[in-house]
Amino acid sequence: MRRFLAIILCKLMRVVGKMLGRGSSLPGQFALKVCPDVLGRVKLPPYVIAVTGSNGKTSTVEMIAAILKAAGKNVVYNAEGSNQIEGVTTLILSQCDLRGQVRGDVLLLESDERYARHTFHWFHPTHFVITNLYRDQLTRNGHPQWVYDAILPAIHPSTTLVLNADDPLVACFAHQGNPVKWFGLEAWPGATKEHHGMYHDGAFCPACGAPMEYELYHYNHIGHYHCTQCGHHRPHPDFAVTGLDLEAGQLVLDGDTPIQLAFRSIYNVYNILAAWSACRMIGVDKHTAAGVINNYILKNGRMVRFTLGHHKGTLLTSKHENSVAYDTNLRYIRDLGTPCSVLVVVDSISRKYFTGETSWLWDIDFDLLSAPHVQRVVLSGRYVHDLALRFECSSVPQDKLVLSASIPQAVEFLEGSGDEDLYVVTCFSDRDKVLDRVELEDK
């Protein structure tokens, strides 16, 4: 009876909430009050896929959903990215019939890495995709190992793990004895023998603490590694990108499926690979999956094209407090080779909470912007001085720098000068402060 009430209540609140334009976590929150174990009392679809990790969760979920739809499957997923237990409850109950059967062939969930254990207390995924663990919002997350420890209790022994073989910390999840499928990127021309980045989170084995060695690095600490002591090593992947030419925007999946990339960034490669692996595992054929992934354009707005004065502009959404997200975008700019300018904005460090913590700026490899084709670097926002001090200690020539605490003034300055391509690198928390002042390309 309480289950019935919780479902009705949740559905009603969801309808009202949608009319009022409210978020999606409140109905679930109330339903959990009425029936705390409601998630344990619904009948789930045969496949429950969860995706977690520091970067790429939302993109991977979007891509999996698109592929599953193309394969004719009825997929229920949290498109709004409300990824804690309340939001997940809202999603599940609003897709339930009154007897508690969740509609659909596949339930697909983006799960917050810190709260997955609460969500998966009452039910557990059949497939758990873990993309990567980086330094991300250390101000509330602690460090990657802390997040690893937080995810562990969310893993049910019968869940099949779908793990990034190239991330040494993620690979440790296999030590739990779960069934595991691995995905990874094989050697490609852009891989390096040397580590690049301001810090090296793969220098020591996450399992035993001994020094690790890498045959190659894809980026930061992601690559082909082995521990010099305990045998922890990059497993042979079950699903792989077997060929990659980022410059040409081409990759090959599992030796025989060529893909054209709409966005030539290494993290797009991993999102594709994760989505491919999950979908192949639940029986989607290669042809259907490739058809969706080919020239797939992310609709989650991480990359936005616009015009400003005579500049053709692109917003590359990074995440403040996430140096790997910054590094991948800066590397993308470095590899372009065409004349451009870059606008970096740090105004509000987070959307969700206040902090004045800027140590993550020192973890970002801003030296990447010393490439000769980067003509100007405009720094802006409340923390412009922190940025300027960071750049003072970088290899970017100081005469390329332009400073403006005021974002409108920085945008105005760019509007009135030059016609080179423009890249804006900033976070969700600050991007609209720029986008509101430019002419957006049709979506």
Binding site: G142, H143, M198, T358, W362, D363, Y383, D386, L389
Partner: protein, 242 residues
């Protein structure tokens, strides 16, 4: 004059861009005309160092660093005796004491350079910090991200905090300071954020090297402004953050 800074366990013990602390001191010293050599490693020679620094790591990394440093306790003591500065930030501070008790109840014997003891907790306390300083000195700003309580500090670096969690209580005394042994749980580039604190360290380093200590010490471009903005922001918004 040639100054030498030793950066202990720079890869294991660096969660928050700690290398920048040494970059800052190096740049300041260079402005004064000194050459600075930064020696980084797990077990470098400490006998010529004017400054020995270690930053913050994961709880696991901290235990490895502790074992790596254990054979070098005499080297650290010797350095302090000849006037060198030993500065440990973040959870590096904890290894200086008598012991660290982890969440499994295991007691790790510390380096024993001071009297305090630390107990790790399952809860993390991430928080912006404003630390009170004696009259005439600028408050110190920063961030802490700790999962421990440190008890038995008789000579803290900061007598109290305007914001943040001290050694073992909210707004309580924070860090440790005795002679040239300096420690604080403030994470990351605390010397980058606080030119006045960097100057305090630099004065001690110059004294150790027998170099002249000028009345006015250099500040890097934007360093003071960055500090001013952070202090202003913390005071205006930080209260809401709890």
């Amino acid at each position: 004059m040639k100054l030498q800074f030793v950066h202990l366990c720079p890869q294991r013990m660096s969660l928050y861009g700690e290398y920048a602390n040494l970059v800052m001191l190096q740049r300041m010293a260079q402005e004064l005309g000194h050459a600075v050599e930064i020696v980084a490693g797990e077990a470098p020679d400490l006998s010529k160092a004017h400054l020995i620094y270690m930053g913050c790591g994961t709880e696991q990394a901290q235990k490895f660093a502790l074992e790596v440093l254990r054979p070098q306790v005499d080297g650290l003591k010797g350095a302090l005796d000849r006037g060198a500065v030993v500065l440990f930030t973040g959870n590096a501070m904890e290894v200086l004491g008598q012991s660290i008790t982890d969440t499994q109840g295991k007691v790790w014997e510390g380096l024993g350079l001071t009297e305090f003891t630390t107990i790790e907790t399952r809860q993390r306390t991430p928080h912006d910090v404003i630390a009170n300083t004696p009259p005439g000195y600028s408050p110190v700003v920063g961030f802490m991200n700790k999962c421990s309580l440190t008890a038995g500090v008789s000579t803290p670096m900061f007598e109290s905090l305007e914001m943040g969690f001290g050694n073992d209580c909210q707004r309580g005394p924070e860090g440790y300071l005795s002679g040239n042994l300096m420690a604080t749980h403030l994470t990351g580039p605390v010397l980058v954020k606080n030119p006045a604190l960097a100057h305090e360290v630099l004065r001690r380093v110059l004294t150790c090297a027998g170099a002249e200590v000028p009345q006015t010490l250099p500040v890097l471009p934007h360093q003071q402004e960055a500090y001013d903005v952070t202090l202003r922001e913390l005071r205006s918004k930080g209260e809401n953050a709890g």
